[in-house]
Symmetry: C2
Subunit: 170 residues, 2 copies
Amino acid sequence: MSLYNACVPQLVKMLGNLDRWLDKAVEHAALKKFDADTLLVARLAPDQFTLARQVMAACDAAKYAGARLAGKEAPVHPDTQTTIPELKERIQAVAAFLGALTPAEFEGAAARVVTLSFAPGMVTSGTEYFNEMALPNFYFHATTAYAILRHNGVDIGKRDFLGSVSLRPA
Amino acid sequence: MSLYNACVPQLVKMLGNLDRWLDKAVEHAALKKFDADTLLVARLAPDQFTLARQVMAACDAAKYAGARLAGKEAPVHPDTQTTIPELKERIQAVAAFLGALTPAEFEGAAARVVTLSFAPGMVTSGTEYFNEMALPNFYFHATTAYAILRHNGVDIGKRDFLGSVSLRPA
């Protein structure tokens, strides 16, 4: 099992799914005749991130996963997006960054020493960082974004969450 | 990177986290003087699973991940739990099942042919099943359970979601 395969194709696909949930939110808003961007300040608890921040956090989790495992600098994306088109642009920028990473850049990623801004003086390994932080964090924010949309009536379901999966005739 | 490491320790830890969120729900209910089990029918959208079903689905995603990758029969857990103690028992049973799986049983798991009840006549590989279905599904249901609790005022935060992570002095 390669870290590249666990990270890049899956996160690129999930970012594409997230992008499509936002499209469905726009469709829902058009149908109900409200401004879709009002959804961006929705949240499930007063002390939890808004939808906009959930999307930004999902983008960052994916971006840093790829950057840290490939040993590359992550592109900078300030948290300034206030519209769905701006958020979609950010999602697509992160997907493009990840998609340009190569399996060769992931060689040695499992054992790579990873430093984290929230834990100064501490390190972890590429595998531990990916399994215990990057991936749970990504799915946490992606699922919460999805949940905020579901809670607000957007017509998305589990298949929209998972996206296409690899199945072959037996 | 081994599928055993990506699967067993991480899912056992996450099940332990889920178990503790339910403890925090019980504490919250005691403080607010309501019956904690009323939370189990809460949901974020009328056509989404309740909290109880989210917990059951997270348990099943974890259980089948371990069983399919290790090539073992999964223990049967009917969806009959209606109280938090019953759900905690199920979570702990799944954690115990996973915890008893060995790295040796995961040998060849990446290439193992996996069949899925929802896709008759189709197969996938162990790695694809884990990356594209089992793990996203597990995090989907665990995060939604967490979100329902947060939405209902239970005092849990991101650290409760992630649990302990592997960090060492640099």
